[in-house]
Amino acid sequence: MSQMSAMNRKLIQNLAETISKQVKHFNKTETMCLIRLFNGLVGEQTERRAGNGLDRGKFRNILHNTFGMTDDMIMDRVFRAFDKDNDSYVSVKEWIEGLSVFLRGTLDEKIKYCFNVYDLNGDGYISREEMFHMLKNSLIRQPTEEDPDEGIKDLVEITLKKMDHDHDSRLSYADFEKAVREENLLLEAFGTCLPDAKSIQAFEADAFRDPFEH
């Protein structure tokens, strides 16, 4: 048994070594911690599916419980953003790559990530419809409103006016990037898809605790 865990540790170390070379923002120790955390999360998962990585449900649970996200659609999109090879599982590498942006990304990386999340159909543009879809729950419906969607439509128009620099009624990556650089607040213009400072701090404190402490 001890041989097993020793081997296991060796494996993790090797893995951490390779991944930490490829991923920015995490050093080797941190990478190891994240691998261990990942293994823990996957391990809890039913054994039969293990090996592939975190499935959607599990991942969404993490987003919800650890990072306080609530919007189902955005959480799905975040999962998609993590799951780069699109196999419906977040592998250990995807996990660490994703977290590197998620927790410590530079503005550039975050802009890319957010655009990715918001581009629902992945065609490289955020269209009017996609905006509408993402913003549709952002206003309290007033019963007196003639057209309850009017406010949302208006919000979409406001956003377009602000961000659509080439006036083609949709946001290209260039549009999005330019707008966010001008006004950082627009990074998460269509819904919260990044954790706030507090939960980042909490997560890192928890994840990067000295593994031999307990």
Partner: protein
């Protein structure tokens, strides 16, 4: 019509069963249309009218047998129609109060018979038969919402059935009924869309309806209903424009039978009770005091049981008259062109009404109810309140005439023009307030004991709301919309709305007022209390901009925004801290705000922000953020430090060493607020000492040579305030600060800078070593050049500096050679007291040179000086009197000159009554000079100078003692003045002067005593006062004049004693 009845009609109880149709305009119009349909039915479709209903429609009627005429079999109470169905049952059967009807022909006849009660009958009928179609055609045609396949079913039936004839009629009937249904639905939809938000028209018609229910009769449901204002704007609203912004339409006072009078606000959102608006203008009365009801009737119903009980009993008959007008079939089919026209004529009517209203209001205005007065301006403003806009939109949508659209455009254009005007006109106001700031700073600087600019630049200005909200540009509505999203949006929507709001020109006053008036400030400040960092940042970014407006500042303080912002200073997010501090810096421009910041621990937190390490040349990103935080903190402290107690609070919070550290920062934008704060605080002695001891002078001097004028100005200003202290002046010289100061004199375009620089030069020139340096840098030549065409705050300092420099003889010559005498003398005619004090001093200093004096005399400068003795300010009086002394001394024919000033001698003697010691001393000094001329001495003796001076002898002020003694010595030269002084009791006090520690007093006193001792009685008094011993001591002085005077005096006393002995022992 099933659908229409289910959906559109408003039932008293939501569930089915025997609900009642409410009395609402909507139901009324529904009923009216159904009535039309039924009445016309038998005439239009005779065949279908004869079709017998599957089941009769039954209800309780108010009709009686007597109402029926021919074609009916009447037996007692019961009535049967002659028309029968194929089974022989009568198509109408009445046995009061029950009635059953089985065909449309009977139905329409019945309604004709009912006459005035027809609506009531129809209502009763529909109330009992919620789905009449079922009864008419059978249960398979029940109205099922959403899916209507009845026609299809019927068609199938047609195929199955052979009774083609009857079914065909049925189909037609069904189609007709469905037509009616759609027609009803569409017209009620039109009404619904109007009703969702109340419009002025709807409110008006409601009020009219209720008014017809008012009165004193038994059955009346209300006592009275009235508007608070007779004035109606041309958008139909009666509320004042600044309330219309909130969607309020009008205010009502309703007296019911069973409650207190109800004060009601009708707004587009609904109807609610207010705080009791009897007339407009009581601001706090606008508050909502109840739930919002959808219309007036509902509100009254819930507040007045009597009303609720009786309103349902009321017949529609009350409204009978307008109904009869509407008998034209297919009302809604009226062609669109026509509606457009009626609308226009309606508008015209409104305009007329409006004109009349205006005329009516003219006498009102004279009556003094100014606040209630709708200004004629409002008329043209197109105060389009939202419902009106909706109306117009609808008008356009329904394709009405293009003219309506055109007129819309026309009304908007002049508006935008006006907007430009407003923004333009608001500028001078801001500039002027800016100006008062600077002048406040400089004038105040002269008076160190008080805080420099506690003289507020914006003490809370009166609210200009009414004036400025008269123009409602398009931004207004856009901002209102954004604020709505802020209120009703989640974090994402809020951030978008905030970003969008920032795209408005937030420097413009119209936007400020728009944000405030639509309740945006409350929302923005509330956002600061949330946990969402992005919302807080967005909100602060806006608040930071709009808080440049003094009214917004006041509003932010009123709403408790400062407390929240002070709390945000504890946040861990640096951007947030920066924004909060910057906003505080903007808001804390008035005293109350500064106090609030202090009282909520803001000063301490702001001082903590200063704690960063700025000196390393290359900073990491984090360090840069820290520096930025410190800069913002310094900005806020700068604003706050305009209050004396805040200065103290900054010091106690340990701000001084932090400021000293930041002062070494290489960044200019950091230095400006830091030096600004320091120069503001330098009005406090504790700060002046700290600035000197913490080595800040060196940095201040260093920054004098930077290339930023604002920074230079603050540095100069700080030195100006600190250089009162000699050590500081020396430090400035040691750090070679004098040359840069002189160099700054060339920046004569920037008056603020020039004022600060000349101030610093003035104070520095209090040290003679510094004056020597200034000579070296040829400062005097430049300063003389600044004597003309400068603002007073510059002149005060320039003249002050010249006055100090002129204490050295070579400078007096320099001033003369540069042509400085004339402008100086010219300045004697000014009114600024601070300036006059300095000018008289400078002129006085110059007058010590005979050559200068000649010029002054030629320019009649002495007369000007003399007339300044009449200045109400004691400082000016004293300074003028001091200046007069050298003039008299150095002028040719001084006695003649003095005599030539009519009333001049009397004037100066009378100043001996002044309570101000400095004035007294200076006047005594002047009298000593005047008294050199015998004739003048005679005149002032006549004016009673002797007893007046004798009165002053009891003083303990050494300066006054010296001057007084000199004057007394001089005045003894005339007539019996020596005796008079003795008699007035001046001798004994003079003897006491010899005990003073001041040697200069001794000399003057000894001389006075010497003169007085020429009178024997005085000698006796002196002797009794023990003068001899004192004088003997004086004789040993190194001062020859003193020796001589003392010896002379003792000799006189001795001579008297000898004479006395001789006489006695003879």
């Amino acid at each position: 019509m099933g659908l229409a009845l289910v959906r559109a009609a408003q039932w008293t109880t939501a569930s089915s069963g025997t609900g009642k149709l409410e009395i609402t305009p909507m139901n009324e119009s529904l009923l009216r249309e159904i009535l039309c349909f039924v009445e016309q039915f038998s005439a239009r479709h005779p065949q279908e009218a004869r079709h017998v209903f599957k089941e009769p429609l039954q209800w309780k009627t108010s009709l009686e047998a007597s109402d029926f005429k021919t074609e009916y079999d009447i037996s007692g109470d019961t009535v049967q129609s002659q028309e029968k169905d194929k089974d022989g049952h009568p198509l109408l059967h009445l046995s009061p109060p029950d009635i059953s009807v089985s065909s449309f022909s009977q139905l329409s006849k019945l309604l004709q018979l009912a006459r005035g009660r027809k609506l009531k009958e129809l209502r009763a009928c529909l109330e009992e038969n919620r789905d009449p179609v079922v009864k008419i055609l059978g249960p398979s045609f029940a109205t099922v919402e959403g899916q209507d396949s009845s026609v299809l079913r019927l068609l199938e039936k047609v195929k199955e059935d052979d009774q083609g004839r009857e079914t065909e009629v049925k189909v037609k009937l069904l189609i007709l009924l469905q037509q009616l249904d759609t027609q009803l639905l569409s017209s009620s939809l039109k009404q619904l869309s109007q009703e969702v938000r109340l419009s002025p028209a709807a409110v008006k018609s409601d009020v009219e309806l209720l008014r017809s229910f008012c009165g004193t009769g038994e059955k009346r449901i209300l006592k009275s209903i009235q508007y608070t204002s007779d004035y109606e704007f041309n958008n139909g609203c009666r509320s004042p424009p600044w309330r219309q912004v909130h969607g309020e339409i009008c205010y009502l006072i309703v007296e019911t039978w069973d409650t207190e009078p109800l004060f009601i606000t009708c707004s587009t959102a609904g109807v609610f009770l207010n705080g009791g608006i009897k007339q407009e203008g009581e601001e706090n009365a606008y508050e909502r005091k109840s739930d919002i009801y959808k219309d007036l009737v509902t509100l009254l119903r819930s507040h007045s049981p009597h009303f609720a009980e009786n309103i349902n009993k009321q017949d529609f008959a009350v409204q009978e008259e307008p109904l009869s007008m509407l008998k034209i079939p297919h009302v809604e089919a009226v062609d669109v062109e026509e509606t457009g026209q009626t609308q226009r004529s309606y508008e015209q009517q409104r305009k007329n009404v409006h004109e009349k209203a205006r005329q009516q209001h003219v006498p009102n205005k004279l009556g003094g109810k100014k606040k209630l007065e709708p200004s004629p301006k409002w008329k043209n403003l197109g105060l389009a309140s939202p419902p009106d806009e909706a109306d117009e939109k609808k008008a356009r949508k329904s394709g009405t005439s293009e003219k309506a659209g055109e007129s819309l455009l026309k009304t908007q254009r002049p508006e935008s023009k006006k907007r430009v005007d407003v923004s333009g006109s608001s500028l001078p106001g801001r500039q002027s307030s800016h100006k008062t700031k600077t002048s406040g700073g400089v004038v105040g600087a002269d008076d160190f004991s008080e805080s420099s600019s506690e003289s507020e630049e914006d003490e809370e200005q009166p609210d200009r709301r009414a004036e400025s909200s008269t123009d409602l540009p398009s931004e207004y509505w856009q901002i209102q919309k954004l604020v709505k999203y802020l209120k009703g949006g989640n974090q994402t929507a809020t951030v978008i709305a905030l970003c969008s709001m920032r795209d408005f020109n937030l420097a413009q006053e119209t936007c400020h007022l728009a944000i405030r008036d639509v309740g945006g400030l409350e929302v923005l400040i509330n956002l600061l209390d949330t946990d969402e960092i992005k919302c807080k940042i967005g909100s602060l970014k806006i608040l930071k901009e709009i808080s440049h407006n003094s009214q917004i500042r006041k509003a932010i303080a009123d709403l408790g925004g400062l407390q929240t912002m002070v709390r945000i200073l504890d946040s861990s997010d640096k951007e947030l801290k920066c924004l909060a501090a910057e906003t505080i810096a903007n808001v804390a421009k008035f005293r109350r705000a500064r106090r609030t910041v202090r009282q909520h621990g803001g000063i301490k937190r702001l001082v903590e922000l200063l704690d960063c390490v700025p000196d390393s040349a290359s900073l990491t990103e984090e360090q840069q953020k820290d520096v930025e935080v410190a800069r913002c903190g310094a900005l806020a402290l700068w604003s706050c430090s305009k209050s004396t107690r805040n200065k103290e609070a900054v010091r106690r919070a340990g701000g001084i060493p932090l400021l000293a550290r930041l002062l070494k920062s290489p960044q200019k934008n950091m230095l400006i607020p830091v030096v600004g704060t320091l120069q503001e605080c330098a009005s406090e002695r504790s700060y002046r000492i700290a600035i000197q001891t913490e080595g800040m002078i060196e940095d201040l001097v260093k920054n004098l040579s930077c290339n930023n004028q604002e920074l230079q100005m603050h540095c100069a200003s700080a030195i100006f305030k600190c250089a009162e202290d000699k050590c500081t002046r020396d430090l400035v010289r040691q750090y070679e600060g004098l040359q840069p100061l002189v160099a700054l004199l060339s920046q004569s375009d920037n008056k603020q800078l020039l004022a600060a620089t000349t101030g610093a030069i003035w104070k520095c020139s209090l040290s003679m070593e510094n004056v020597a340096k200034f000579q070296e840098y040829k400062a005097l030549e430049t300063l003389v050049g600044l004597l003309t065409d400068q603002p007073e705050e510059v002149l005060v300092n320039v003249v002050g500096a010249l006055g100090e420099c002129a204490q050295r003889p070579e400078n007096r010559a320099t001033i003369r050679k540069c042509g400085g005498i004339q402008p100086l003398v010219n300045l004697l005619t000014g009114t600024n007291q601070a300036l006059l004090v300095n000018v008289t001093r400078a002129v006085g200093a110059c007058a010590t040179e005979p050559e200068n004096m000649a010029i002054i005399d030629r320019l009649d400068g002495v007369r000007l000086l003399w007339s300044l003795l009449k200045n109400p300010s004691p400082d000016v009086q004293a300074s003028a009197a001091w200046a007069i002394c050298p003039c008299i001394e150095n002028a040719k024919d001084a006695g003649e000159m003095v005599r030539s000033f009519v009333g001049g001698l009397e004037l100066i003697v009378n100043l001996l009554k002044s309570p101000n010691k400095e004035v007294l001393a200076s006047v005594c000094a002047a009298i000593a000079k005047i008294a050199k001329d015998e004739e003048n001495l005679a005149v002032i003796t006549d004016h009673g100078v002797v007893p007046m001076m004798a009165n002053l002898t009891n003083t303990t002020d050494d300066k006054l003692r010296q001057c007084l003694a000199e004057a007394i010595a001089r005045c003894c030269m005339w007539g019996s003045n020596r005796v008079a002084f003795g008699e007035a009791g001046a001798v004994a006090p003079l003897v006491r002067y010899l005990r003073s520690k001041e040697p200069s007093v001794h000399q003057a006193t000894a001389q006075a005593l010497f003169q007085l001792s020429k009178d024997p009685n005085n000698c006796i008094t002196m002797h009794e006062s023990g003068v001899v011993k004192l004088l003997l001591g004086m004789m040993g002085s190194t001062d020859e004049a003193l020796q001589e005077a003392a010896a002379g005096c003792v000799a006189n006393i001795r001579r008297l004693a000898l004479a006395n002995e001789k006489a006695r022992y003879g």
